[in-house]
């Protein structure tokens, strides 16, 4: 890894990361603010009983979801908005770190240094990973601070486990996005292929929860391994984390191989 490049890139990505994290924290603040009202509302409970399929889509799988803040946060934030925002953040950052600099020519400057392609790639990957860790950390810190503000008790260890699982999940998304970023010269292809893979996977996961007959579909997507509600209710997703990390390592190795051997018209 090249320290000078890491500092410069992290400074640039840091602003973006903080803006995303701030947005998510405000959303969480809204959730925490409406939670006491929703948890006491009988009409919400009736809605999930009368329209179970719709409730599943919105991750309201049990009455339990509205009686504890962890379950509510898991269903309303970590199951939906957070995944989408993190997905967009990860794909756009992976594209900016490699494909954007190759297509606009700035990569010529980075590769004209004695750092070499391997070091440039590993630094850019480290920037992406650090950004993901920072995003998860800031989101969880935001929830913790807001819960303190509203005097809600949090299962801190469960949030920590969820954070590690989320980092592993988005590291996988980031590593295949980096792979596409090294594979294609055109930024549009990078974003299109990474977004298709990510959001189709997410759609598969939602589809699999609509009906028990389709539950096998969740095995086709990495999002099937991301069950925030179960983790916040006490599950330890050890094998899911190991599998996602292994997948990430494979994609990063592949991306590095492509980047080291590719002709670059910069």
């Amino acid at each position: 890894m090249n320290r000078a490049l890491f500092r410069a890139m992290f400074k640039r990505q840091g602003k973006k990361t903080c803006s995303y994290a701030l947005g998510l924290s405000l959303y969480n603040l809204l959730l925490i603010g409406v939670f006491p009202t929703l948890s006491q509302s009988s009409s919400m409970a009736k809605l999930s009983q009368n329209l179970p399929k719709l409730a599943r889509v919105f991750r309201l799988t049990s009455d339990y979801a509205l009686s504890r803040f962890e379950s509510f946060a898991a269903s309303q934030c970590f199951g939906q908005v957070w995944v989408l925002v993190m997905g967009i953040y990860t794909i756009s950052t992976a594209n900016e770190l490699i494909a954007h600099y190759v297509s606009e020519g700035g990569m010529a400057y980075l590769l004209s240094s004695p750092a070499g392609r391997l070091q440039v790639f590993s630094t850019q990957a480290a920037v992406l990973i650090s950004g993901l860790v920072l995003m998860v950390l800031l989101t969880e810190l935001g929830i913790w601070a807001e819960a303190k503000l509203f005097a809600l008790s949090l299962a801190k260890k469960a949030y920590l486990r969820l954070g590690v699982l989320a980092i592993a999940l988005f590291l996988t998304v980031g590593s295949y996005s980096l792979f596409f970023s090294t594979l294609f010269n055109n930024e549009e292809y990078v974003i299109l292929s990474a977004a298709c893979l990510t959001f189709t996977g997410y759609a598969f996961d939602i589809f699999s929860s609509l009906d028990d007959r389709f539950s096998w579909v969740k095995h086709l997507t990495i999002f099937g391994w991301f069950r925030p509600q179960e983790v916040l209710e006490g599950d330890t997703p050890a094998w899911q984390i190991v599998s996602l990390m292994t997948l990430s390592a494979a994609f990063l190795t592949l991306a590095c191989y492509v980047f080291e051997r590719k002709d670059l018209c910069v």
Binding site: A4, A108, L110, S113, G116, D263, L264
Partner: protein, 317 residues
């Protein structure tokens, strides 16, 4: 110092627009061979798309040659790209910087990536003063010329043994072009090996020892500047007092054509004295050289190439 031998590159179009096309391959370079001695300034001349940047991309290890090799200081530019960069300063043809930074931040980043030697900041400040560039300005607010200056500072501050400059004066005003030429000549005096790609004749003429003329991916010729000047033809357009005087020049045995009543165009190969002797007998109203000497040599090589191509096409038809 720089050695390019039998360098060939074929670009493959992934999606040929014309599906009926026989081949989806485009020749980037064909068997390019030249060398640059230590302390020499070598110019690569050619129009856009001729292959100058492709040669440079091979030297920088951005492209892998299909055939042949490019070496700097005996190191293969593709296989040992990382080691090669330790003694090469590179100015890319496209000024696409990391736009969010200021000029100073960018130069600090590049200095850091090159090992941050104390000499870098000394040279950076001296060059910024000479090129009159405010380094604190954000890159996205810089004009094309200012970005070009920043690129030149980045390349020169590294004090590298070998400088590879791709179209270095594009976007610079004439005053700054002169400053740049002075900088190159100073680096040459310090024993640096320099390769300049350009289609700007004056900078090549004033800085280079030898010139490679590249055309459609092929090196048409490699000649010394002095030799090119001496051997190549020059065309002069002369306006005379009377049509009779113009006729006198046409009948003098020089290669001359009437281009107006009292205007002639004279083509000289090598020695200019025969023309001066004839001009001593007439009254000249205007005298101008149509193109600079090097430009003229360049055009001659191009015309030759096109004639060869035409004859190949005719023989096939």
């Amino acid at each position: 110092m720089i050695q390019v031998k039998g360098l060939s590159k074929v670009y493959t179009k992934v999606r040929p627009k014309n599906r009926k096309a026989i081949s989806n391959h485009i020749a980037g370079l064909k068997d390019v061979t030249f060398h640059v001695q230590q302390g020499e300034v070598f110019g690569l001349l050619g129009p856009n798309g001729a292959g100058k940047t492709t040669v440079i991309r091979h030297l920088m290890g951005f492209l892998k040659p299909d055939v042949g090799f490019a070496r700097i200081k005996g190191l293969d530019c593709w296989e040992e790209a990382k080691e090669v960069k330790a003694f090469v300063g590179y100015l890319p043809g496209e000024m696409n910087f990391l736009k969010e930074m200021s000029g100073l931040e960018f130069l600090n980043l590049m200095a850091g990536m090159h090992g941050n030697r104390p000499v870098f900041s000394r040279r950076r400040d001296a060059l910024a003063e000479r090129l009159d560039l405010n380094l604190k300005q954000p890159i996205k607010k810089m004009s094309k010329g200012m970005k070009q200056k920043l690129g030149i500072i980045n390349t020169m501050m590294l004090d590298a043994e070998v400088l590879i400059l791709d179209e270095p004066t594009s976007g610079l005003d004439p005053l700054m072009q002169k400053v740049f030429i002075d900088l190159v000549l100073e680096e040459k005096d310090r024993g640096k090996t320099i390769l300049i790609s350009s289609h700007m004749f004056p900078e090549i003429e004033r800085t280079c020892d030898r010139v490679g003329i590249i055309r459609a991916g092929e090196l048409a010729a490699v000649e010394g500047i002095q030799k090119l000047r001496q051997e190549q033809r020059r065309t002069f357009e002369i306006t005379l007092e009377t049509p009779e005087q113009a006729q006198l020049i046409c009948e003098s045995g020089l290669k001359a054509d009437r281009i107006g009543d009292n205007q002639v165009s004279v083509e000289i190969q090598g020695d200019i004295n025969p023309l001066l002797k004839v001009l001593a007998q007439v009254q000249v109203k205007d005298f101008l050289q149509r193109m600079t000497e090097l430009e003229e040599a360049f055009m001659q090589f191009y015309e030759r190439g096109e004639e060869v191509e035409q004859s190949i096409i005719s023989s096939h038809v």
